[in-house]
């Protein structure tokens, strides 16, 4: 406090036009997401992952549509064939084209992965957001419910649900989502808890904004980074859970096929035709790897410390 400051009336003069702008920080007008995309693009592995995943999605959509073979079309004249031009991955023990079946499996595995991530996103954000924003007793009760759900044995619940509702995509989705949203809910709650004390949230409150407006337009928007990072983790873990369930024989059942089912079917032929198990396993591995690279890229891109 050694500076000498005295405020007198003659200090307070309007600025001239160019003085008004001298404080302006010249920066490119970029949104948060453009910024994050810029950082993501610099990550080679993440880009490769994204490219692989995109190709996989496109093939999963197109191949079953345009291939001359059906995923359940048997051909008893061509059993257990090795890869050839007509059957790029060969045929299985019923003479079905494995390439079509793997791509058909990609449809099931990827849609389970993405839709369960989406369901967890919606439930987790709403639940965690409300708990964090409302606070008090409501929050206490809501978070204890989450703790109880979290402490239940995950696989046991999934298997129970499959037994009750049958082995289909819907019950797999329910089984996966019933506990997977918890991480998201906890994350959003913690974020909202700190954000709601910040001045921009108080400002919105003083302006008369409703609770839901403050929660979604101000608080949730500001924790989009961690939320997206969490979503990119949810996708591979859902794909993996589904593959595991189908592999042990309680997931998607034949003739429909996910990667797990395919691996399970090929398992019986592992000695005579080992090549048949390679295709679904390779698909699972490469997809998981890509998703993990993407996840790393996304979390780096949204890390505020990496500016």
């Amino acid at each position: 406090m050694n500076e000498e400051i005295k405020l007198t009336a003659d200090l307070f003069e309007p600025l001239s036009e160019d003085e008004k702008n001298h404080e302006f920080i010249a920066a490119q007008s970029k949104t948060y997401f453009q910024d994050a995309w810029g950082r993501f693009k610099k990550n080679k592995m993440a880009l490769i992952g994204l490219a692989f995943l995109s190709v996989m999605v496109i093939l999963a959509i197109l191949v079953p549509m345009f291939s001359p073979f059906e995923y359940d079309g048997m051909d008893l004249t061509a059993l257990n064939e090795m890869p050839s031009l007509t059957h790029p991955m060969g045929t299985d023990k019923f003479g079905r084209d494995i390439f079509v079946r793997v791509m058909y499996g990609a449809r099931i595995s990827l849609s389970i992965g993405f839709s369960s991530a989406f369901i967890c996103l919606v439930i987790g954000v709403v639940y965690g957001g409300i708990a964090g924003y409302v606070g008090g007793k409501t929050e206490m009760i809501m978070m204890r419910i989450v703790d109880i759900l979290y402490s239940l044995p995950n696989l046991l619940i999934v298997i129970l649900i499959m037994l009750i509702f049958g082995s289909n995509v819907i019950s797999i989705l329910i089984g996966i989502c019933i506990t997977a949203w918890i991480g998201m809910a906890r994350l959003v709650r913690t974020q909202v808890l700190t954000l709601k004390e910040q001045e921009f949230a108080l400002a919105a409150y003083v302006l008369g904004a409703s609770r839901s407006r403050i929660l979604f337009k101000h608080l949730v928007i500001n924790c989009m980074g961690p939320i997206i990072v969490n979503v990119t983790m949810l996708v591979p873990s859902a794909i993996f859970t589904e593959a595991f369930l189908s592999f042990i024989g309680i997931g998607i059942s034949a003739p429909a096929a996910s990667w797990g089912t395919l691996a399970n079917e090929a398992r019986t032929l592992i000695e005579s035709n080992p090549i048949q198990i390679i295709w679904p396993v390779l698909s699972i591995c490469l997809t998981m790897l890509s998703l993990n690279f993407i996840g790393d890229g996304v979390s780096d891109a949204f890390d505020p410390k990496k500016k």
Binding site: M1, E3, I5, L11, N21, E199, A203, Y205, L207, H218
Partner: protein, 324 residues
């Protein structure tokens, strides 16, 4: 006061602090029995060291916190009882400008969205088009350019962000604004610009301010009256000039001596009144006069009796030195 727009009546705002679940519940007395009034078109300055409860008082006035005891009256109405449309009207007329220009704007919204939001909330003006026009007008009023509308807050400096904040509150045509240290995070040269802007809009729009600052220098120029706050209580209220020229309470004198002044003669005289010691914790407010632990003129009575505000000349002061 005849035409008080705001009346704060024995307000106490306590925060419960949990030490452990078995311990007796403790309270942090952030605001401890404060009363004052603000007139129409008046600026009431509130000064005090940081942590003395200024922000808490300001937030209680705009109903972010509910007072533990006491009441706040806006235009004669107890704000604690407002509901529905009346509350909505209160939210439109009573606004707050925050201290940290970096935390008080939503980083994910453009300047245009930030300024338009209050109008959206209160359904002001018929169409989105009209709101957009009003946004441009407001940008001009606060000295920003129309093409700033599509930019994000992080592209602006502290002073410009504070202008955006001001434009956001002006969108509602408020009658009373709590300015919570709006200039203390800014460069000295920019502080003057913001004060100037606040005075300009006060005259144009007939607004009353509660202007909070931690040093007297900043509030003296803009305020008609000033209250000095210490550990949750007002220790002195006076006309701005009077308080500056003739401070009564030892705490006010110390605050004044913290303002550097060019005259070395006066400087030396005031230096003797520097505040020593740490400010006590609001969890554990000293008995009697809260300031006695740091007061150069403390007397035995100060430890026993809490002094009430009493009129001395044109000011009011809570100090045993002026006991009649």
């Amino acid at each position: 006061m005849q035409n008080a727009i705001l009346k704060v009546d024995h307000v106490k705002t306590y925060f419960p602090v949990s030490t452990s679940i078995f311990a007796k519940k403790q309270y942090l007395k952030a605001v401890n029995d404060v009363s004052f009034e603000v007139g129409e078109h008046e600026t009431f300055g509130l000064v005090g060291e940081s942590g003395c409860g200024k922000s808490t008082l300001g937030r209680t006035i705009v109903r972010i916190y509910d007072p533990t005891e006491g009441k706040v009256f806006y235009k004669g109405q107890d704000i604690g009882r407002l509901k529905g449309d009346e509350l909505k009207k209160f939210r439109k007329e009573v606004q707050m400008i925050f201290q940290d220009p970096y935390a008080s704007l939503n980083a994910r919204m453009t300047v245009g969205e930030i300024i338009r939001e209050p109008m959206d909330i209160h359904h002001l003006y018929g169409s989105k088009q009209e709101r957009e026009e009003r946004v441009s007008q407001l940008l001009e009023t606060v000295g920003l350019k129309p093409d700033h509308i599509r930019r994000y807050p992080h592209e602006f400096s502290g002073g410009q962000r504070q202008r955006i904040s001001i434009a956001r509150t002006l969108a509602l045509d408020p009658k009373f604004i709590v300015c919570d240290e709006p200039i203390s995070a800014l460069d000295v040269s920019i502080q003057a610009q913001i004060i100037n802007l606040l005075e300009k809009i006060q005259d144009e729009m007939n607004i009353s301010y509660l202007f909070i600052a931690h040093d007297l220098g900043a509030v003296k120029h803009i305020s008609q009256r000033i209250g000095a706050m210490y550990l949750g209580s007002l220790v002195e209220i006076g006309e701005s000039e009077e308080l500056y020229r003739n401070p009564l309470h030892p705490y006010t004198k110390a605050l004044l001596s913290a303002i550097p002044i060019p005259d070395p003669q006066v400087m030396r005289k005031r230096a003797a009144l520097d505040l020593d010691g740490e400010i006590p914790s609001p969890l554990n407010v000293p008995t009697g006069c809260a300031f006695r632990t740091r007061c150069p003129k403390a007397m035995p009575v100060c430890a026993e009796v809490k002094p009430e505000l009493q009129t001395v000349g044109t000011s009011q002061v809570a100090c045993h030195l002026y006991a009649k």
